[in-house]
């Protein structure tokens, strides 16, 4: 009887230690998730800023100016365009 009690007591102690350990583990993991979520938010913000930057660089006014002045380009004239029709 005393032996059984001792055994059960040990089991109880072991399981409570286990609870503490897993609780700690869970909190650590949760912090990690939290950090990643913040990072994803940060990246979202950065993505927005990059899109903004991209559309500023790719503004049609800027492209036209560069194409005309720096690269001496001009739109093709109607006679220089050959339209190719897709066969259905």
């Amino acid at each position: 009887m005393a032996r059984l009690t001792g055994f059960l007591l040990m089991l109880v102690v072991a399981s409570s230690l286990g609870v503490v350990a897993s609780q700690h583990q869970a909190r650590k993991l949760y912090t990690a998730v939290e950090r990643e979520q913040q990072r994803s938010q940060q990246l979202e913000v950065e993505w927005g800023q990059l899109q903004l930057e991209q559309s500023t660089w790719a503004a049609h006014a800027r492209i036209e100016k560069l194409a005309r002045e720096k690269l001496a380009m001009r739109p093709p004239l109607s006679g220089q365009i050959i339209a190719i029709e897709e066969q259905p």
Partner: protein, 585 residues
């Protein structure tokens, strides 16, 4: 017992010998029992019955409610190019009472905030509990201010809206206020879709401030939805650039260009002048803010004539070849006289459109009852707002048919005595571009084109009028400058005198509404220039070249195959020189 002689031991204390009544120990016992019962009862009450209070108190020691920010949705064009995006910024605020800064700190802060030292001191000496020192500064600057560790100076995360397109798209998009809520344009019209709803959640934080456990999510954050407009960034730029050029060339007061996709009713471009930069709205006037294409009306003038001709064709009153006598260029109806800008002799119906004869149009209009004409104008969408959901949209003026006098019916046939906005004009020209029906105009991108429109004219009538519109841009028409090399295009000029104080003044509104290509219309382009004052004021001289420029660029950008037969000689000649019309890319 020796000791007994010296004193009394406890056991022999005489007090013990005195008899105590039996109730006294029982009473004490009862009191102790009662006391502990009360404690147990109270404990049970607090733990079991009234447990929320203490739980909340306990939780407040370690749990925190965090605000979860939600971002405002992006606005993109039809290809997904970003037109408006929110980016986080910081606002610097202070609790004046706590902000005890020494002069060098004040100087440092004023320098970073780009404020005067005295201005800053004045703000900090205010007796309010909370003041903004500067709103919407860059996160980098806020970090530098935070690094100074000044007492009573704090920052707060906010969002600011950025518009990479600047003034090109200003009127369509509108803008948001300092609190990231829409105030004008699409930002206001689509506010409910764009706005995000910030959420909040309760979490457990550890000693170092890390979140270790999510207790509950009170409200999930909802990011604003992305709105895809029907606008084509490239065509919008073409329209904006052409309009801007024309504004300076003709010293005009204002102007607008609308480009519609004839197949779907989507608005591909909507440009207005004067415009503004939505990223910097310091010196903004109401004049710059107006989205004229939707909120301003004007007398359309001759651009209405094709509708009159179409009605006459539809009702079988005339055919394209019917001759109408327009001599001698004047006509008296009741007590009023109407006249042509250039007197004509006898003209066919097609020529009335080509040469824009007021008398020809008036004669056709007087052949049917006012109700018939009113019904057509109403079907075309005049007199009522188009309901694009745009703030400040107007419907123009179209009086009920019962109130029309014959002279009014005559002037309305060539677009006087009524008013429209530019978008309505473009909308109505769908009947010619779409073989007689009209689909609703849309500012947001459509996934599937509307199948059925509201029929106004028969396809036969629409095609015949389309032929007449093509004559207008050819030799002998009023707008040869509207031609687009490589494509068959058509349209109608309009030159209306402006009403100033109830009288017609020598101020004009020049307009041109056209469709391209004629063989299978894809685009409707409407151009309006208000008060051109550099010598030219006819729609064919002022508005038509803009049409040509925008249409040429837009057709190429959309990859529409040329439908006009090539003229080799002309091509060879043009191949070496600059094009007659300077095209924008």
């Amino acid at each position: 017992m020796k000791k007994a002689k010296k004193g009394v031991t406890f056991n022999h204390n005489p007090l013990l010998r005195s008899e105590l009544s039996a109730w006294r120990p029982r009473f004490v016992l009862l009191c102790l029992l009662g006391g502990s019962l009360a404690l147990i009862g109270r404990a049970a009450y607090l733990q079991g019955v009234h447990d929320q209070f203490l739980q909340a108190k306990g939780e407040s020691r370690y749990a925190r409610v965090l605000e979860v920010p939600a971002t405002r949705g992006k606005i993109t064009d039809r290809q997904g190019d970003v037109l408006a995006v929110s980016s986080p910024v910081k606002s610097i605020w202070a609790i004046p009472e706590d902000a005890r800064l020494d002069p060098s700190q004040t100087r440092q802060l004023a320098g970073l905030l780009e404020l005067g030292v005295s201005e800053l001191n004045q703000k900090l000496s205010s007796d309010k509990d909370f003041i903004y020192l500067k709103r919407q500064v860059s996160p980098e600057l806020a970090d530098r201010i935070a690094a100074l560790k000044l007492p009573g100076i704090h920052d707060q995360r906010e969002y600011r809206r950025f518009y990479p397109g600047g003034d090109v798209m200003a009127h369509v998009l509108g803008f948001t206020g300092v609190d990231d809520k829409g105030q004008e344009g699409i930002e206001l019209a689509f506010e409910s879709q764009l706005a995000g709803k910030p959420g909040s959640r309760r979490v457990v934080k550890d000693r170092r401030g890390n979140v270790v456990e999510d207790v509950q999510s009170i409200r999930l954050p909802q990011d604003g939805r992305e709105v895809a407009l029907s606008i084509d960034n490239k065509i919008q730029y073409l329209a904006h650039a052409a309009l801007k050029q024309a504004m300076t060339d003709h010293k005009a007061k204002a102007g607008g260009v609308v480009v519609l996709d004839a197949k779907t009713g989507e608005v591909l471009a909507l440009a207005n002048a004067p415009t503004y930069n939505p990223n910097n709205r310091v010196k903004l006037t109401g004049d710059q803010l107006r989205n004229r294409a939707l909120t301003d009306t004007f007398e359309p003038g001759s651009t209405m004539k094709p509708f009159t001709a179409a009605l006459a064709l539809e009702k079988g009153k005339v055919t394209a070849g019917t001759i109408i006598n327009c001599a001698p260029g004047r006509m008296t109806i009741g007590s009023a006289t109407i006249s042509d800008a250039h007197p004509h002799g006898a003209l066919s119906v097609a020529q009335v459109i080509q040469k824009s004869s007021n008398i020809g149009a008036a004669k056709m209009a007087l052949s049917f009852p006012p109700e018939t004409m009113w019904k057509m104008l109403d079907d075309l969408g005049f007199g009522t707002p188009l309901k694009l959901g745009f703030p400040g949209e107007v419907g123009g003026r179209l009086r009920p048919a019962k109130a029309w006098r014959p002279i009014e019916q005559a002037t309305m046939s060539y677009g006087h005595g009524m008013s429209v906005n530019l978008m309505q004009m473009a909308n109505a020209y769908q009947v010619f571009a779409r073989d007689g029906d009209i689909v609703p105009v849309s500012l947001s991108r459509l996934d599937a084109p509307p199948v059925h429109g509201a029929r106004v004219f028969s396809p036969q009538t629409a095609r015949e009028v389309r032929q007449m519109l093509e004559l207008v841009v050819q030799k002998g028409g009023t707008a040869p400058q509207a031609g687009v090399p490589g494509y068959r295009v058509g349209g109608k000029t309009g030159t209306a005198m402006k009403l100033v104080g109830g009288r017609y003044a020598h101020k004009y509104v020049a307009s041109f509404v056209g469709i391209a290509p004629i063989s299978d219309p894809r685009l409707i382009v409407a151009v309006m220039i208000d008060e051109p004052s550099n010598g030219k004021h006819y729609g064919g001289d002022v508005a038509a070249p803009i049409f040509s420029q925008v249409t040429a660029g837009a057709l190429r950008s959309l990859g529409v195959a040329p439908d006009a037969p090539l003229k080799p000689l002309q091509v060879a000649r043009q191949g070496v020189s600059q094009p007659a019309v300077r095209e924008a890319m």
